[in-house]
């Protein structure tokens, strides 16, 4: 069920557009550094890079208030940063340091930042759909006016819990927005091999308004998110956004040779639709910024990232005996 675009509740000012550029760039540079750190064996565990998909997190989170909720996925760095996380504490967490968001207990796939409404990244596909729906329930019960956004990849369409919570959210008109990051692959398998029927038919079956969005165009994502958020906040119930996008890198940092599941040609075509570049071109075209101004933004970010990563590399590890803390409240 595609909804008619209504008036955009929040307008995209030049200032906001520039902020979005900076935020997308921050995610991009952060993750490029993460990739280097993994490649040089300085980071433990796994990381799933969000590079290529930045417009989804930034477009959606720009439509949210600080106290609105999000839940994230195994590919969560972009969501966390877009919702306001500090890069230094992110780096610390990814390196297993005491100063990380979760004191080293979470790692890349589990960053939670309660202060900014981020209820946590999640390593279980579909694992956070209930949490987002329940957070929306609490907001509605307490009449706080908050909304909850549930990010997930199209792979989560295979999980029953998603359908159970969409049914509830629609029945109870909960202020939750399901954001499907449609990047076409469930790990190394094309989604057409795992997903029958149309994505849009799923929310439609529950009477949840659905919109399909160009996930490489942050302005389009922002507009659609604003409509969904506005409706949810004013008691209109849940919404579902399908954002078509693409991860430029592998499923995780170690997935280098991808030829057996997707072609170089396909990768190149998507790289030509780089979300950061698309916004940059628009900013220049509109006269909001010139290239040298954007380059300065990039340079400042590079310095910020380098300083944060260096600080995180120097930061102390937790005392192993702390493992017993936080098992129970």
């Amino acid at each position: 069920m595609a909804t008619e675009p209504t008036t955009t509740p929040q307008t995209l000012t030049s200032e906001l557009a520039l902020q979005m550029y900076e935020q997308m760039r921050r995610i991009r540079s952060f993750e490029e550094r993460v990739n280097d750190l993994y490649r040089s064996a300085k980071m433990p565990g796994l990381a799933h890079l969000y590079i290529g998909e930045e417009a989804v997190a930034v477009g959606v989170c720009s439509a949210l208030h600080r106290d609105d909720y999000i839940t994230s996925t195994h590919r969560g760095h972009g969501h966390c940063l877009a919702k306001g996380a500090s890069i230094e504490r992110m780096f610390c967490e990814l390196l297993g340091k005491e100063a990380g968001y979760c004191h080293g207990k979470g790692g890349s796939m589990h960053i939670a930042d309660h202060e900014h409404g981020n209820l946590g990244a999640n390593a279980i596909v579909g694992g956070s759909t209930g949490i987002a729906t329940g957070a929306a329930f609490s907001a509605k019960s307490r009449r706080t006016g908050q909304v909850a956004v549930c990010f997930f990849g199209e792979g989560a369409l295979g999980q029953g819990v998603l359908y159970e919570v969409m049914n509830m959210a629609s029945l109870w008109q909960l202020p939750v927005i399901y954001v499907c990051e449609q990047n076409f692959y469930n790990e190394y398998t094309h989604y057409s091999e795992t997903t029958a029927g149309e994505v849009a038919a799923r929310p439609a079956a529950f009477g949840i308004p659905e919109e399909e969005v160009d996930g490489q165009d942050v302005r389009a994502v922002f507009d659609a998110a604003c409509r969904a958020v506005e409706r949810a906040r004013s008691g209109g119930g849940p919404a579902f956004l399908t954002c078509a996008t693409y991860r430029f890198h592998g499923h995780h940092v170690g997935d280098i040779d991808r030829g057996y599941y997707r072609s170089k040609d396909e990768e190149e075509q998507w790289r030509r639709r780089d979300p950061v570049e698309i916004l940059a071109a628009w900013l220049v075209d509109r006269g909001i910024a010139d290239r040298s101004k954007l380059e300065r933004v990039d340079e400042n970010l590079a310095a910020e990232i380098a300083a944060a990563a260096d600080a995180a590399l120097e930061a102390p590890y937790p005392d192993p005996r702390e493992v017993n803390e936080h098992v129970y409240a």
């Binding site: 565990g45 390593a123 694992g127 989560a156 295979g158 999980q159 790990e187 057996y260 098992v327």
Partner: protein, 329 residues
């Protein structure tokens, strides 16, 4: 004799069974082109084709559930659940359906289903990708539970699991996939319910499973240098359990240590300790020592993960405790 890794040994059992029997097939997430996230099923798509090497949606409940249905009809499905943490999603189907249809139907039906899964710490995957849950299934009448620790065991036991007329939960340990051993071309099935004595000894019996078998063997080596002779027994199948082999060993050594990577509390070792104290009470010279993970979810930071899960040093300490205690002999 060719040398096979634990990974190749699993693949060999699957392939030989599939060559042998049209009713055997495998399915799971990313097992076809990708060959599974651990590379176990690599190359099998080419040999057996997509009907018998089937990629599934990310739907653990349906993977197990449809496996049950096909098994009841006399096929011998081997379904893969990528990480044992994801068994939680298929728990209903395993516990209420697979385990009970034989019984509830008064013996009319049988469920010759094998559920392969893997897990284990040691690479900082965090709390949702590395716990060891084998003990949960041991308490469910109707299920068999296997946990193999070497290439020869994993191959011979998987063969028996596939041809067993009952549902078998088959645990593999992630850190063992590279382990190599010379194996005959022809598979020698290993009966389900038969323990293996890895090393003869006189002073202490260590009953260990999974990765801890190897830690126990290292500890036994070290103890030997200190003049303590250690017998290492791997039950290999947790349900049914070869109580006789364990009890016979303890009656010889008069001391017992149980060791596994899962949390100590309610771990499989608790059952072994109960069996030993009941059947060898008068032979025991020391309380049964238990080695397992600390009672926490798995933390991400390597310093913490290392601290939570047991190693050879922990097994050695437990061995020393049992011998330091002055026995009656």
């Amino acid at each position: 004799m060719p040398e096979l890794s634990y990974r190749e040994a699993v693949r060999d059992a699957l392939s030989q069974a599939m060559r042998n029997d049209e009713d055997v097939f495998i399915m799971g997430e990313d097992i076809a082109e990708m060959g599974g996230s651990m590379g176990v099923t690599q190359g099998m798509l080419e040999e057996f084709g997509p009907d018998r090497v089937r990629n599934t949606p990310i739907s653990e409940m349906a993977i197990v559930g449809s496996g049950i249905g096909a098994a009841i009809q006399g096929m011998r499905p081997v379904v893969e659940v990528m990480y044992e943490d994801f068994l939680t999603i298929s728990m209903e189907q395993i516990v209420n359906q697979a385990a009970k249809h034989r019984y509830m139907s008064g013996g009319q039906l049988k469920v010759p289903l094998t559920i392969r899964t893997q897990g284990g710490a040691g690479w900082s995957p965090g709390a949702q990708h590395a716990q060891q849950v084998e003990a949960w299934f041991v308490g469910v009448p109707g299920l068999k539970v296997v946990f193999a620790s070497t290439p020869s065991d994993v191959r011979g036991l998987l063969w028996s699991a596939i041809y067993d007329d009952n549902p078998v939960i088959f645990f593999e340990h992630r850190t063992l996939y590279g382990l190599k051993e010379e194996l005959a071309e022809e598979i020698e099935p290993i009966p389900i319910g038969q323990a293996r004595v890895h090393r003869q000894g006189e002073d202490v019996t260590v009953v260990a499973t999974g990765r801890l078998v190897h830690e126990a063997l290292a500890a036994a080596e070290e103890a030997g240098q200190q003049g303590v002779s250690v017998e290492v027994v791997d039950p290999r199948t947790l349900q049914p359990l070869d109580e006789d082999a364990i009890v016979a060993s303890v009656k010889k050594t008069n001391r017992c240590v149980v060791a596994h990577e899962a949390v100590t509390r309610m771990g499989f070792g608790a059952e072994v300790a109960a069996v030993v104290q009941h059947q060898a009470f008068d032979w025991l010279d020391a309380p049964v020592e238990r080695v397992g993970a600390k009672f926490t979810p798995l933390p991400f930071a390597p310093v913490m993960e290392e601290y939570v899960v047991p190693h050879a040093t922990d097994v050695l300490e437990a061995i020393q405790k049992t011998v330091q205690r002055d026995g009656s002999s």
